[in-house]
């Protein structure tokens, strides 16, 4: 029993973290809310060069042949940055399903996904391929074979589409735990978002003064944020544990994934509430950055199965 990441895994995370600090500050996220694509101009290419997009693809297909355990910390960092790109759908969900992953590995083609638990395919308009799953089968379908219907998300970077695929369209593929990868990837991003909202709030309440003292010196504020820190502390190991389970395909993967997604969703929700409340009116202002992360968290809490959905799945296994 050794519950820790390897030096290589941490180095891979640090490289992506450095990239996102440089290329995806809040100003870039904010720009994606109003630009044409809802995406960044530079990050996708860098992620392709670093091998992140194809991390799960076999080396023979130009990928890194890595496991979800290698990718989970990267997804967490993408959450921390509120990266406005379909990294989860492309790198975590789709790549292992693609008959020919090469164009996706290189980033030439963007792949997104629509699953019953996550029906709105984000950024489908700028994707070349969509993984379309219903209750009976999973298909890989070229976007130009699909009818897309646009939907607006509270997170305006997320350009959502319902996809209508003709019966014969696309290539059927075997599921291969795609739902588990999607749910766990969302959980990892929620952990990153939780960390970010906590960091923003700790910084703010340490500086903001009211009644002649820092707001963060009030016990009520301390306890709000201590509660958020507690939720983070005990959600995070479940996410990493589920990533190990997914990587080694031990029998309990769905239970571990559901424990992770349910707990990460609750941690993000509680932290978002605490962050907004401790910021007061400043955090409630559109010009302040908190809401960029808050709304991404709201979106991910409800997709790939929300907390009650996943607890019900655990319940079916243990009760």
């Amino acid at each position: 029993m050794r519950f820790a990441f390897t030096e290589d895994q941490l180095a891979f995370r640090d490289a992506v973290r450095d990239l996102l600090v440089r290329e995806c500050p809040p100003s870039v996220v904010r720009d994606s809310w109003t630009n044409a694509t809802g995406r960044t101009t530079t990050v996708w290419g860098h992620l392709a060069e670093m091998g992140v997009l194809g991390a799960l693809a076999p080396e023979g297909a130009g990928g890194l042949g890595l496991s979800f355990l290698d990718l989970v910390l990267v997804l967490e960092e993408a959450g921390y940055a509120a990266l406005p790109e379909p990294l989860l759908e492309h790198a975590a969900v789709a790549i292992p399903l693609l008959p020919d992953p090469a164009p996706a590995v290189s980033g030439a083609t963007t792949v997104t996904a629509s699953f019953p638990a996550a029906p709105y395919a984000p950024w489908a308009d700028t994707a070349g391929v969509v993984v379309v799953a219903d209750d009976t089968r999973v298909r890989v379908v070229a976007r130009d074979e699909l009818d897309l219907t646009a939907h607006a998300s509270v997170d305006r970077a997320r350009r959502l589409y319902t996809v209508d695929a003709p019966p014969g369209a696309g290539i059927p593929v075997s599921d291969g735990a795609a739902l588990e990868r999607g749910a766990l990837g969302a959980a990892a991003q929620l952990i990153g978002l939780t960390r970010r909202m906590l960091d923003l709030t700790v910084e703010y309440v340490s500086e903001r003064r009211q009644f002649g003292v820092p707001v963060g010196s009030f016990q009520a504020v301390k306890h709000h944020l201590a509660g958020a820190r507690l939720a983070l502390e005990f959600a995070r190991p479940l996410v990493y544990r589920a990533a190990w389970s997914l990587t080694h395909a031990d029998g309990d993967t769905p239970v571990h994934v559901s424990m992770a997604k349910a707990t990460a969703s609750d941690a993000a929700h509680l932290t978002g509430r605490a962050a907004l409340q401790c910021h007061g009116a400043i955090g409630y202002s559109y010009e302040y950055d908190l809401h960029l992360f808050l709304k991404r968290a709201w979106a991910l809490e409800g997709t790939w199965g929300d907390a009650p959905w996943h607890r019900a799945r655990v319940g079916r296994a243990i009760l």
Partner: protein, 389 residues
């Protein structure tokens, strides 16, 4: 104890209901946008023309001399009919009680009818960049200009709700530069078209331009712009703050209507809903009922002459946190549809966009009008009598 409504009360309710069902507009845009605000003004003026704008006010100001109980019935019917948020509420519910209590007859005659008719549109100038929760931290200044018989106002107000669309501002300014904290403040009434006033609207959480910064640069106002006594603005304002926390701003009608909409959403989505959610929906529905009956309880006491003081903090914490829970449970029921700000395809329940919009609005409740953390301090210290620090 008699929990039936009197024939006059029932008649009043019936009259409200009939008129509201016939006239409440459907699907007004958000009142926190310029276009939406204009659309809401048409509705506010329709209310005034039918004398429903300010039912509890005296007839001469456009009201009906309605009792507090009748006012509650109006509110229940207003929200049951699907009436929109009142964009005039900061004037009608926050400033007007203060004008009735502290205003001169001239001020009352000048301010109240135009407020009721939505001709003058009032926004609140409390908060400043360094005076949010700590209202006593106000730095905006009022300098006496004896020669001109008035005052010169300078400073910055912010987080002013709908300030970009209003015509007047009421707020506190430091009139005695040597006084600190709660002392030496004066309550001023300021036309936003006065020379030296600059208003910049900015976005609330949902992106609508529902906030404004108001910059005042040596703005002259006459002595008649002072409400209450000079340097006594804090005690004058506290009457408003009490009204803001108390029942005048948040009658139960809105939450009863939201609870009913939540029940309808549950029915439409029950097949997909986790069983747990049923318990939470019922709990929220019960809490809305509890708020309703606590309000009837309080209004009966007020009618008997008792005054409501710090208890207003109990009300503010309860409705604001109930409002958040009502919307959280709706979003749980909506699942993956919850993030939408438009409607899902082949939607069975509808209102996905409305719930997310409402959720963002509800999240302001625990923050404004004194954060709920401060309200809980008030409950502990002034209702329970715990020692201050």
């Amino acid at each position: 104890m008699d929990l039936t409504f009197t024939p006059p009360e029932e008649a009043f309710r019936a009259e409200c209901r009939t008129w509201l069902h016939a006239h409440v507009p459907r699907d007004l845009p958000s009142g926190d946008t310029r276009d939406g605000f204009a659309a809401h003004l048409d509705w506010e003026r329709a209310l005034f023309d039918a004398r429903w704008a300010v039912v509890s006010w005296p007839q001469r100001y456009g009201g009906r001399d309605a009792s507090p109980m009748e006012w509650l019935l109006f509110e229940e019917e207003y929200y049951r009919a699907g009436g929109p948020q009142r964009v005039t509420q900061n004037g009608i519910f926050l400033l007007a009680p203060t004008v009735f209590e502290f205003g001169t007859p001239e001020q009352q005659d000048q301010i109240l009818p135009r407020m009721a008719a939505a001709q003058d549109l009032w926004c609140q100038g409390w908060s400043e960049p360094n005076a949010g929760s700590d209202l006593a931290g106000i730095q905006s200044r009022a300098a006496r200009d004896a020669a001109s018989g008035g005052w010169r106002l300078s400073g910055q107000k912010t987080w002013t709700t709908r300030g970009a669309f209003c015509t007047h501002l009421f707020g506190l300014f430091r009139s005695d530069p040597d006084a600190e904290r709660h002392r030496g403040l004066t309550y001023f009434l300021v036309p936003l078209d006065a020379p030296g006033v600059t208003v910049r609207g900015f976005g609330r959480l949902d992106g609508d331009e529902g906030f404004a910064e108001v910059f005042l640069d040596d703005v002259f106002v006459p002595d008649s712009a002072v409400l209450g006594a000079v340097h006594e603005g804090w005690s004058v304002a506290m009457a408003t703050a009490g009204a803001e926390r108390g029942l005048t701003l948040r009658s139960p009608g809105r939450f009863l209507a939201a609870a009913d909409r939540l029940v309808h959403l549950y029915r439409a989505r029950r097949d997909m809903a986790d069983p747990r959610v049923a318990d939470e929906v019922v709990r929220a529905w019960i809490d809305a009922e509890a708020y309703r009956w606590q309000t009837f309880w309080t209004v009966t006491r007020m009618t008997a002459g008792e005054s409501v003081g710090a208890e207003a903090s109990l009300t503010k914490v309860f409705w604001s946190e109930l409002d958040v829970r009502l919307h959280e449970h709706a979003l749980e029921l909506l699942g993956a549809d919850g993030e939408l700000t438009d409607e899902p395809d082949d939607d069975d329940a509808g209102g996905a966009a409305r719930w997310m919009k409402g959720y963002q609005f509800a999240l302001s409740g625990p923050i404004y009008a004194g954060t709920n953390e401060i309200q809980r301090n008030v409950i502990a210290e002034r209702v329970l009598g715990l020692p201050r620090r």
